[in-house]
Point group: C2
Amino acid sequence: MNTTHETLFTPEWSRRVAGVARFSSGVRAPFSMAYGSPDPALFPAEAIAAATDRVLADPARVAVALQYGSIQGQPELIALVAEKLEREEGIRVTAQNVVITNGASAAIGLAARSLIDEGDVVLVEAPSFPGALSVLKRTGGELINLPVGPEGIDVAATEELLESLRLRGIHPKILYTIPTFQNPSGLTIPQSARVALLEVARRYNLVIIEDDAYRELYYDAASGPLPPSLYGLDHDGRVIRTSTFSKILSPGMRLGWAVAQPEIIERMLLLKEEGGTSSFSQHVATEYARDGALTRHIAMLVDAYRAKRDAALEALDRYFPPGAQWTRPLGGFFVWVTLPSSIDPQRLAAEAAREGVDYLPGERFFAQPPAEPGTYLRLSYSLLSPEEIDDAIKGLSGVIKTFY
Amino acid sequence: MNTTHETLFTPEWSRRVAGVARFSSGVRAPFSMAYGSPDPALFPAEAIAAATDRVLADPARVAVALQYGSIQGQPELIALVAEKLEREEGIRVTAQNVVITNGASAAIGLAARSLIDEGDVVLVEAPSFPGALSVLKRTGGELINLPVGPEGIDVAATEELLESLRLRGIHPKILYTIPTFQNPSGLTIPQSARVALLEVARRYNLVIIEDDAYRELYYDAASGPLPPSLYGLDHDGRVIRTSTFSKILSPGMRLGWAVAQPEIIERMLLLKEEGGTSSFSQHVATEYARDGALTRHIAMLVDAYRAKRDAALEALDRYFPPGAQWTRPLGGFFVWVTLPSSIDPQRLAAEAAREGVDYLPGERFFAQPPAEPGTYLRLSYSLLSPEEIDDAIKGLSGVIKTFY
């Protein structure tokens, strides 16, 4: 498959992709802004096929790639994760700090199940990623909204919340956050707030699950470096960072990882009941990434998704009516839109679907009702071409104006 | 890779395989009879590579094979499982009866977590598969040994056990069994006992988890058909059957499945936190299996593993001393050996490892201490060539005789 920029955004691709998505309204729309799925036109399919051929042509590698593997992960992929962390962020980990998982969702699930007991209080951003919220809830955790401002978690308000909870005898155990290009808000917590958040976590003895699924997709590197991850800033081993190859390679290979203290990794391994993550996917991914191919691929993805992000923000600026507000993500896949609370979210979603535009209404991103009333929308720009994003946001804007 | 019979059992392959296995004693032995791993020389690596190439050459299939997929599984693989059950066993299921999982271990884990609450009593064969025993224990279940005779579960004794438990106010909820080519005993429960077991399960309201990982590897079809699975004989929806592509295709692809009532499948789906089993593996496996390739491959595997089973039984007959007893499996990977209880199992394992023969001592296969004292060994004949099996069992026999 040819993945040069010129051929990325053909209408044929978009129709195929849109045909795959099932929409909340039950109809199929040509413009899906609903899912955080990467654009399949950007999958390095030919290179993955070639990597598979190389792995399976060598009997010594067949004997491991098609066989049962280590519960913790294939040593080669663990080494790749460790090298990537050191090269890109200067973070040093040993093999004992890493577990390979079935995507980041499994990493979050293992972290949640190994740390949370029935009734434990878990702090989550409001809004946050629904997949994680439901995993955290199923462990028996009680979810409480974190205060979020225009730069992500509001650390001062979080400290007030923790203090008021403490006075009521409530001691939260876990804080789950997506500090970088947050899903769904698109916000990134600045470095100073990250340092302050870690200090608060230390004082209130919180373990932090840092979901870092989108970090590599940073579109504004020209204006300065990204803040370090919470894991990178942490000095007392209280951060579990989860990440994934889903956004930078392929979700279908189901490869994610977590880095944490060896004691936490050990607890996660005990719950990893599936006999280890696919050796086949791990060996193909490692072979694919050899000689810098993954690094070059990520650079291409950053250019392609930046064009989509730019198209989304330009269309929002051009078409959206007064009274609508939205975030300006520096990376990742999502814009979070706030509309006047007088607009009924269910009716808006239904009308938009009839116009052929699909997105996720905001309500499912909240563990508790949000502090600020509003009608919220998550728009994902990952699947569509820049031209389609313009059309979709123009169409959605037309629907919104009928509610004014 | 060439997988004709002539090239299957080269010493080079065996050395590679043995080199991968780490032994309990910490030394590396040339003859591993420890693990239930399929022989990598029998993996259809070339055909899997070709199937991968075909899937990834078609943009429409790339868009699903490398993308997020359904939590339940890819429709094509669910259809393959349904067709396989109908063609091979006359069992009809709908898509609502099936979930694709990360190997059979994940299916057992999902079944266990969705059905067992803290303190529930779970009946397990003595001996049984340690991977399942630890998953069942981690759910908080209390494991109780089932009585096992020369043909697997002793149903009359099981009924007595259930009645005596009932009189003490104990009502077991789950019965976990591997009725066909059991791991580790190699035993197969006859049809009449299966029917009787289901009747007992009905009377005592037990849900049965039927682990059917080895069914396809039946070596004595010439002497008559296999008994139907418990799932196939069940009339009241109390059986969850778990199975796998690990033994018939490749463990590294991590593909298993469960069939059960839709209500149970729904509960399992709620716990499937990893964002769905690998679409990549599922599409490659489905493409590989097209046009009967999997059926032909299984026929080849049956011939190859039968030769290994025959070599193991012939060597046991030839070399093992009086006082040793062993099972005669009709399929699967394992022979279960009982030695006089005067032989110390730890010392025997250590001496055998020094002689270069590795196996799993019996103790880890029991949830509770066994009813009958004895020194138990599980010998797996899946990895070695027939000649190596002969050598290994000869060597082991020599070690055993030094304990007499």
